[in-house]
Amino acid sequence: MTEPTSSHQHSGHSASSAASHGNDSHGHGAGEHGHGGVGKYILVFLALCVLTSASFFTVSPLWPFHDTPAVGWTFMMAVSCTKAMLVISFFMHLIWEANWKYVLTIPASIMSIFLVLMLVPDVGERTLHYSSSRWLHAAQPRAAAAHGDHGDHESHGDDGHADHPPGESAGEGGGAASH
């Protein structure tokens, strides 16, 4: 009966990177400065600010990929994931925790990522696979979708309405369907 207890304590020590403070059962006051520290938090804070401005940069005129919005979206999501990892790791102290952290975070993350990834092709990109008879009952005329399929802003004017100019659905829609 005593065996598991002591081994549990042992594993708690070896798993945590800062052996000096061990797990919480040692009490809160002692040795809590083994990790963290104000300096580290300020560094993370600065990194988060820089990353926020980085994603804000994608809407500035200096951003070179305004024609292909998917580049900006991917960039922003990468930045967001980086920020999330910083917050989780340092502010939520997860890099200093023992291995129990994987038990809770990995299943939740997998489920949430799978949910989104499974919905996107099924629902999000459904108009890419519409048959021509389905298009007859679509909420929007096909011209707009064909325009999105090609990802080509100039093609809209030649879609059969010679008397209507391009530009009705210009803007960021070009890449929406191709995403």
Partner: protein
């Protein structure tokens, strides 16, 4: 706790009776474990909401999802709120550090700072919401002025609104002519002009032509004059110029007919048509001069607006930011509750748990900000 268990175990070693002892499955306090379990459900909750948003946004007919400026989303406000939340994450973690190192006073200071920053976040959110509401963007239909398509339903909605404004002003003028001010008279003039030269004109054009593209064009031009979307600027310019040419040609033709007309009946009809053409011709440059449309120029009009996928946008925007704001509010409530407590090292676990929750709220915003403001 562990040392105590070992001691306890050896003490009773030889006695042979069954001895049960509590062993935590995970080496963390129960409170923290519960909070993490709660957070993992929260991750999935927000993943569901964000997933719904992504699906609706990219599943929307391509090119229709409104850009930030079409729906009065101000990017720098979102960026500012991101900054505020990041700051509050730092202050709550500093509160925890202070509490652990025994300086309860500093812990209280940082906790109060976090509370204040959270309130700033909610304040900015409230300003953003009210700017949407004041532009007629609501998540639900009784107040929402959003229409997805420039179709006959849209025309009849505009027509009903203009008629309601007109009858309201007329009634006031008839019942209390003394309190009917100069401004009211101006409004009445504008509404009458819009009724004749915007709504009736469009309705007539839609009813008379059999060309579907011309019908759509007429409604789209009206929608643009009420609420111009950046993406349809080019098309609206084209439709505007086309209509000016048509009016010029028709005026010439009708004038010639009028000169030859002999019976009174057709003279009257031709005169009426000429008046309609003139009225429209006079209104068009006025409308064009309103760079941000009728609704922005005269906020009291509150005419229905055409924003493609606008209702879907409003639903997802208010759902996501609303649920996030509720989480912020709950966090602030907890901060306010523990603010009077003296945050000694023994009680620092409370701060740790609240802090974890607060960081999670920050985490959600880290994803919501680019998705809702920058995509």
């Amino acid at each position: 706790m562990a040392e105590h268990a070992i001691e306890h175990g050896t003490e009773h070693a030889g006695h042979g009776h069954v001895h049960l002892e509590y062993q935590p499955a995970l080496p963390i306090p129960n409170g923290k474990l519960c909070l993490w379990l709660f957070l993992s459900t929260e991750i999935m909750f927000f993943a569901g909401l964000i997933g719904a948003y992504i699906v609706l946004r990219f599943g929307a007919p391509s090119g229709t999802w409104p850009g930030p400026h079409d729906v009065h989303v101000v990017e720098w406000m979102g960026a500012f709120n991101t900054f505020v939340l990041i700051c509050s994450s730092v202050t709550i973690v500093l509160a925890l550090e202070a509490s652990r190192s025994g300086s309860a006073g500093m812990a209280k200071f940082w906790l109060a700072t976090t509370l204040a920053l959270g309130c700033v976040f909610l304040g900015v959110k409230a300003v953003e919401y009210s700017s949407k509401f004041s532009h007629g963007i609501h998540p639900m239909s009784p107040r929402s002025l959003l229409y997805d398509r420039a179709d006959p339903y849209y025309v009849s909605a505009v027509s009903a609104r203009v008629a309601a404004l007109r009858s309201g002003l007329d009634e006031r003028k008839n019942k209390a002519p003394d309190s009917f001010t100069e401004q009211d008279q101006q409004r009445l003039d504008l509404v009458s002009s819009l009724q004749a030269n915007l709504v009736k004109w469009t309705e007539t054009k839609v009813a008379q032509t059999s060309d579907q593209l011309a019908r759509e064009g007429a409604i789209e031009l009206m929608a643009y004059q009420i609420y111009p979307l950046h993406a349809s600027h080019e098309r609206a310019e084209f439709l505007h110029d086309q209509e000016l040419r048509e009016i010029a040609a028709e005026t010439q033709a009708v004038t010639a007919q009028r000169a030859q007309a002999t019976d009174e009946e057709s003279q009257k009809a031709l005169d009426a048509r000429l008046a309609a053409l003139r009225g429209r011709q006079e209104l068009l440059p006025e409308l064009k001069a309103m760079e941000h449309g009728l609704n922005e120029q005269h906020k009291w009009l509150r005419l229905p607006m055409k924003i493609p996928s606008g209702n879907m946008w409003a639903s997802t925007y208010f759902l996501l930011t609303g649920f996030h704001a509720i989480h912020v509010a709950v966090g602030l409530l907890v901060f306010a509750l523990i603010l009077p407590v003296r945050l000694t090292p023994r009680k620092s676990h409370v701060l740790e748990n609240v802090g974890l929750y607060w960081h999670f709220v920050d985490l959600v915003w880290i994803f919501l900000f680019p998705l809702l403001y920058l995509f």
